[in-house]
Amino acid sequence: MNRRLKTVDLFKMLFRCFLIQGSWNFKVLIGTGFCFCALPITRRLSETTEEQKEFLYEHLTFFNAHPYFASWCLGAVAKLEEEAAADNWESKQIISQFKKTLTGPLGSIGDRIFWNGVKPLASGIGLILALLIGWYAFIVFLVLYNIPHFYFRIKGLFIGYKNGFDIVTIISEKPYRRFIVFLSILGAIVAGIYAVLACKWSYDQNHYLAVAFAVSVLTTLVFLDLNKPVWMSLVFSVIFSIVVKIIFFFTV
């Protein structure tokens, strides 16, 4: 019997990738989610209940990666499981080891590209547009964010499936370094533009609000630089802003 995955199985896995964090827990983090996403593999390849159980125990283990990049590992695992079934591997220990190896790089690249790059950048652009054109901004925000999101999720599964073990040579920050630098430069420019426009927006509501805004920005930057939590800088910013108002109230 030809034990091969079909294209439909890959699409089922792709769909499931979007739910990978559904059963997030402190025991195996997204390990359960990974197993959930990999179920189309066992449904296609396992011939007996025992084989399926073995597959489940193999994948109900610790797994952590950036959720958008987990599909890279999933695709590669699909390929390896397929090879294991076709060639009747005696032990699939190497697949578990392979998953562990990918955990670090997949988390690191994803966090740098998305949580530290695309997300704040798209938010900054969305906010600038919200101040300038109003509610339409949310459409731009969602499009800007989700183009790379969907791209990496979809591409990852198919590249992983194509390359199997060789995915390890593809996954490194090096190919994305330029993209990450680009995101950080653009993000910094957007942060600067947003600060000016938000200050002007506050000024348009009432001129002392621009002063309160500036005081809050400076207070927060100092607190963040001192590694203090955001709530603390928020409390002090609120207090200082009210003080600014009181000063304006008695002097202007």
Partner: protein
């Protein structure tokens, strides 16, 4: 009214799920979720304003690995609902916004606590599954969908409950006790939220030693204002 609450409840569940469990297409970000919450309750502009104030407040709360994070998206969505209801019932915009923003902080802590509890419940279910002699693919799916359901329930319970209790009753009552003259002293709190968010965004990129790029952004912003 009941239809409106039902729509709010369903939307809240979607927001809660999108935060982590399902899709993560960022419809749960305050900029989107507050706007839509406002639209559902009949005041999209106020929803958008709340979204603008809160969008950046939790942007550096990174849901990395096992790190504990605040449920800012749920907090912000609740804040938008509370602000709209409070304004409709008190007719005073400044205190409605300010108290809603402050309540968003408290609700985000509660949301974070519930998410943590949910993850422990998921962990217990995982332990039970592992020792189940009849473990199967269907049981893994059941466990997974239960996790998604819990996530949905967190949103559907927290947001409408706080919107009704605080937005309909508590806040309008509190605001009615406050003299109108106090409003002008509360107004700077909005600017403080905006300033804190702006600073957080800047700080995220200064970690990459991009101060000079932020300066270029300042200049570009000023140039735009001058041309405009």
């Amino acid at each position: 009214m009941w239809l409106e609450l039902l729509a709010l409840g369903l939307w809240s569940g979607v927001v809660s799920m999108d935060t982590t469990a399902v899709m993560q297409v960022m419809i749960s970000r305050p900029l989107v979720s507050c706007l839509i919450t406002g639209a559902i309750l009949g005041d999209y502009q106020l929803g958008l304003i709340i979204g603008i104030y809160l969008e950046l407040l939790w942007i550096n709360e990174l849901p990395i690995g096992a790190a504990k994070f605040l449920e800012g998206n749920v907090g912000a969505t609740a804040a938008a609902a509370i602000a709209v209801y409070s304004f409709q019932n008190s007719l005073r915009i400044v205190p409605s916004i300010v108290f809603s923003l402050l309540l968003a902080l408290a609700i985000s802590h509660l949301g974070g606590y519930l998410v943590k509890k949910m993850r422990y419940v998921n962990g217990d279910a995982f332990d039970k599954l592992l020792v189940d002699p009849n473990i199967s693919a269907a049981k893994v799916e059941k466990l997974h969908f239960k996790g998604i359901l819990y996530s949905f329930l967190i949103g559907i319970v927290i947001i409408p409950v706080f919107a009704v209790v605080l937005g309909w009753f508590a806040l309008p009552l509190l605001i009615s006790w406050l003299p109108v003259s106090v409003d002008q002293f509360l107004e700077p709190v909005n600017a403080a939220f905006l300033g804190v968010g702006s600073a957080i965004l800047m700080f995220m990129f200064t970690r990459h030693k991009q101060w000079w790029m932020i300066f270029i952004g300042f200049c570009a912003g000023l140039l735009y204002l001058l041309i405009k």
